[in-house]
Amino acid sequence: MSIRLEHVLKRFGELVILQRTSLEVRDGEFFVLLGASGSGKTTLLRIIAGLEPADEGLVLLHDRDVTWAPPQERNIGMVFQNYLIFRHMTVAENIEFGLRLRGTSLTERRRRREELLDLVGLAGLDNRFPHQLSGGQQQRVALARALAYNPEVLLLDEPFGALDVQIRSSLRRNLKRIQRSLGVTTILVTHDQEEAFELADRIGILERGHLLEVGRPGDLYWRPKVSFTASFLGGGALIVGRVEQDKARFGHLSLELPDELQAEGLTRVQLMIRPEQVALLEEAPEDRSVCLGKGEVLEDWFVGAYRRVRLRLPHLPGTRQAHPVPPFGEPALLVDALLPGSLSAIASAYWAVLNGWHLLRAPDFRFLLVCFGGDTKAPHRPLLGKWLVERLEATALCLLPNEVSPLADRQEEKPESEAVSDRAESPKIELRPAGGNIAEAMSRELKRSLYDFLVLECRTDIAREDAARRFQELFGELTTALPVPTFAVVHSQEEIRHMLICTGAGEPGKEDIRLGGRLARRLGLPVTLLHVYHPQTSPEFARRHLDRAAATLQGLDLDVKLHVTAGEDVAETIVQEARRLECDLIVIGAHLEQPSWLTDQNITRRILAKAPCAVLIVPPPIELRSTAPSFLHTLPA
């Protein structure tokens, strides 16, 4: 094994830029680390090179532990994004630099230099200076310099980023040829998926510091295991559906579950359809078993060799499309397909038939559970949180306040993964003592890792007003600063049977309706959609929005009741209706125009103070927030 990383972790202050990553690269392999900017791929490469130390973990080169060795001692060659050729030296001197440092004789150096210049196709340019060379030539000099002393490992950091497209392809082909002929183990870092496919023996997909998946290009493209890989590596539709009797159901489609998914006892599964796998017919097919339906052509793009069309097909009942996301208020199935580029005319509608597909796991929700307030006698069990985690088949981390000492003791024996028996029966809830101020621990944890929901549960013995104040301490001034949708549970509640989604005064939100709808679908709950309007205004303005909201919810196959009420005091009206309709969850958006959390006018705070049940506060859509997680399309159904 040429290169091995074991649980390498890298922090920058409090932020973890590289999560515990383990990786193995074989001898002579061309491995590509593929990821967007900020995914940590360059950091990982620099750690392998020794230019940055890892905070945790081991780096092994040819079974030699080099974790603490400086770059000089690692015998690696590296090509940088901006070449970094020494400008005051000629091409020859640059290439010979590494050899000179190793004490190679003059004749041997010259011989090797000629050999390398030949290899990269720059013969005769020995005495040029870097500023006399083109970008592509400089990059080749950088490559020759890196290979001069026969390093064991070659590292390349987005080497072709600054070059023209034509030069890039020819350099790529040359690089592949050189690597094959020399057989040197190589890692290349890039954000260009085409480059990865062309060069790699295997690709590793990095996202926000996580190494999500590793595999051969073909395997990753046709049979990805993770949602992110599916959407990052090319176009296609991702649709979440149910598993019934060992078959994956998507509306009328019933597909066999592959072996690896069968054993896991899943209830949900995701279908990936690449555009190449969709056949378009003008007439209805005889065999409807793999037919998606007939759809109108929404858009088409000319891409030279082919034309890509986007069809809007009828929504498949019992499914949710994760990617591309259908527009609000129009439940439909959006599928991309390909037509030959030579086709002169495109019909306005086609029948879409599947020629192939791939099934993968649907992503889990991740919860952060925080219980606070109360005394040491009352055990701090997350009640509603536990119910949610179980019913949604999610994973969770539970932060416990320090006052609970017996638990803390037990916690020291088992710091990670395994649950402590009578505390949380579900094996998917990891318990951890907060270690200090719980508010700080919570915000640290939210920064450290990606969570889909936060559940704050408060003890029964605290007065409602106190609880609201505790929430205030935890949230700070504005509810718009909430990083994730938050369940605020001000008393003991064990389950949810009826959901109330509120679109109150001010800007009607789509995100709260979408999220509420998804949860209701997963939990199988009836939903009431409530709109409160001021008695002096007319409800007509909101009517359109409500209709679209209802359509969206119906597209999720929900049992929806619409309810429009006049009320001077929005918060008061919502609470009254919730009580009257016997709802167990009020879903509200954290609206942007609300007065500060500190004042009594803040609607969210007032609802929290008076609500008879749990409240789910949904922050503004991701695009409007300053930090945008990229898992948007992987939020589960």
């Binding site: 090179a49 020794g50 230019l51 400086p70 770059p71 000089q72 690696i76 060659g77 590296m78 940088f80 901006n82 070449y83 970094l84 020494f86 400008r87 005051h88 630099f97 590494g98 440092l101 190793r102 870097p130 500023h131 060379l133 083109s134 970008g135 400089q138 310099r145 890196a146 002393y149 600054a162």
Partner: protein, 289 residues
């Protein structure tokens, strides 16, 4: 036969531009040229022979030699020391960094006379370091060592101030590339960093030289201006004037002026060469973007 046209260039110059340029040139000529002319005139006012006699006086020769010695030694010291300080300030973060950075500029703000006085107090009779120095067998006050200390102090900042911006601009990326290629830190410094700051360093040295040649106040206070021992060229000029030997003073002044001008012309030549080299790299920088 057609009359050749006037070159377009003259036609394009607007009268306002000519006036502005002319005014500046006139200002420079008046401010710099007239004193220089006065010195030249004063040196040769009694003929070339008198000029030669004055310069060949033993006191004059030793003053000039002393000045040049001091200039080169202080340039050498400030060159080495300055390089170390520059690298430390540019490349490392440490507490007290801004303090050190400020201290480097101290010689600019402090009057050289005050510097000389400080040395006098430190090393003179009853001074804090008087015993330390005499134990080693040195004399500072009224001695060459004192002159050297004073000259080093006043010319301290130049190398540092020239080198630091270039170090910062060049960055550490090339050094990292060198490390990966197998260079130890000192090797990277020698092969990669130094060549990058080469010309800034040389320019700093030249400025140090020029400043050292012209130092007066500090060396007078610390050295006492003892003829033949601590009388630098500048002090010699001062004493000559006192002794009403104007031609002697002007002659020495002329020599100093010529040497200083030569030094600066050399610096200009180096700068222009550096600019030409950088212009040659222009396309490279664009290619990298």
């Amino acid at each position: 036969m057609m009359k050749p046209e006037k070159p377009a260039r003259t036609a394009r110059r607007r009268p306002g531009e000519i006036l502005a340029v002319g005014a500046v040139v006139l200002y420079a000529v008046l401010l710099l040229g007239i004193p220089l002319a006065a010195v030249l005139f004063g040196a040769f006012s009694e003929g070339f022979e008198r000029f030669r006699t004055e310069l060949l006086r033993p006191e004059a020769v030793s003053a000039l030699r002393l000045t040049i010695q001091l200039a080169f030694v202080s340039a050498a010291i400030n060159g080495c020391f300055g390089l170390i300080v520059a690298v430390t300030l540019a490349r490392h973060r440490f507490s007290g960094r801004s303090l050190l950075n400020g201290l480097v500029d101290l010689p600019f703000g402090v009057s050289p006379v005050v510097a000389g006085l400080a040395l006098l107090l430190l090393f003179g009779r009853g001074g804090w370091l008087e015993n330390v120095v005499s134990a080693v067998g040195l004399r500072v006050v009224f001695d060459w060592t004192g002159l050297l200390l004073a000259t080093v102090f006043v010319s301290l900042p130049f190398v540092i101030r020239e080198v630091i911006p270039v170090l910062q601009q060049v960055g550490t990326a090339h050094e990292e590339a060198a490390y990966v290629l197998g260079a130890k830190p000192w090797q990277a410094f020698w092969w990669i960093t130094l060549p990058a700051i080469r010309w800034a360093f040389v320019y700093g040295l030249i400025l140090t030289l020029a400043r050292s040649l012209g130092e007066f106040g500090a060396v007078l206070v610390v050295g006492g201006g003892i003829r033949g021992i601590t009388q630098t060229a500048t002090v010699y000029i001062y004493h000559s004037l006192d002794a009403r030997n104007e031609v002697g003073a002007f002659s020495m002044a002329l020599v100093l002026a010529v040497v200083t001008i030569a030094v600066f012309l050399g610096a200009e030549a180096i700068k222009r060469r550096e600019e030409r080299r950088r212009a040659g790299e222009g396309p490279t920088r664009q290619a990298l973007r």
